[in-house]
Subunit: 225 residues, 2 copies
Amino acid sequence: MIVDAAVRLIEDRGTDGFSMRSLATELDVYPTALYWHVGDRSQVLGLVERRWMEDLEVPEPGDDWREWARELARRYRRAALRHPHIARLVTVTRARSMETMEIPDAIVGMLAGLGLDEDGILHTYNALMGAVRGFVVLELTLTVDGDSDSNASLEAELAALDAERFPNLVAHHATLANRALSMRWSDAEAAAMDESFEHLLTLLITGIEAQLPGRSRRTGGTTRR
Amino acid sequence: MIVDAAVRLIEDRGTDGFSMRSLATELDVYPTALYWHVGDRSQVLGLVERRWMEDLEVPEPGDDWREWARELARRYRRAALRHPHIARLVTVTRARSMETMEIPDAIVGMLAGLGLDEDGILHTYNALMGAVRGFVVLELTLTVDGDSDSNASLEAELAALDAERFPNLVAHHATLANRALSMRWSDAEAAAMDESFEHLLTLLITGIEAQLPGRSRRTGGTTRR
DNA sequence: ACCTGAACACCGTTCAAGT
DNA sequence: ACCTGAACACCGTTCAAGT
């Protein structure tokens, strides 16, 4: 129940609202009592991470790896959007997470099943994980830093951009405003990021397909540079 | 020179070593004096971000957009690896960055030049930014959280993974150990991430090529779901 | 075994006061 | 104009002491 309280605290009061002291207050106990039960702050976050990851079930393997990978990525993103503060705190403050290795294992299995060699498995795994988790964590910066007055000024600054220095941003202002990364100030257009995420998945999957063995044109891919 | 001191502090003593108070101490001044000169903490980080971004020059537009995009992404990553603590602090704690819009502008211009429609520009921009910046920020978690004893235990845990629960991670242990995201404990194999990053760029560029107008097979791309 | 209570070494920020 | 100095409301963590 201590981890329940931590989860509640982070979601309700945000990253800054969570501390060992506020958690203790929530539980009507002295801060130091927490150290006896769960150890220090990073261990509490470890428990929160596990709790959060329980939301996420690996999809049943189907006949199409593309649809399986898309569905896994969507589930990951949905779990993150359900608990944005937790997702962000856990993704950026902890590299460790040995308990939640089911997903990496499933992805590696899928990539090996495609017939990739060892280097292909490694680099495709890293590219997928980095791109998908990275996209989501950047997407969440808005939800999390929702500081309303600085957001309002961002809208104004974007509208007032110098057409000489930033010709392309000005030309496509209507397309980008409130929808492009680092140009958003409210989640009114949140649906746009759904589509951008789907687009990222399309790019990655198309790219992987082109690398699969048994293709006519063998592109150099990972060995280039 | 106040921003120089901040940059030095973050790089030398890490994210936790930087504070308004430690910065003041470094400058032999009372913490409150900083508030007169540069405002609060987030404004200091804004100055640090600008300083960091000055490292990064947009490459000259060439005849090949693929090579241009690759080179820009490489320069971004190199700048981040040069100042890992700064890159991380700035990327994850600030959505705002209206001063450093040259790069977004250049990317949007490039995408428009490819003949993409407005939706294509938006979603490809988001996919590229999210994937590239996200990959790099996840890659940096190791450099930054370099807590050596927890890293050592990660190596042991990975070696001791249960072959029943994680058959694929065990089968490909030699490939993944210390080289795959969230399975690294030292930067001894840092070169592996170079290759993974190049691979990600290959996947993204291949994917974009397949979406370009004037292709035989028009894939539904962004509208699928 | 489990919690209190005091203590240490920190934070960011505001604001009156000095020069 | 520029800085000091005190103050407020916080942190994470350790450790002796209580029951």
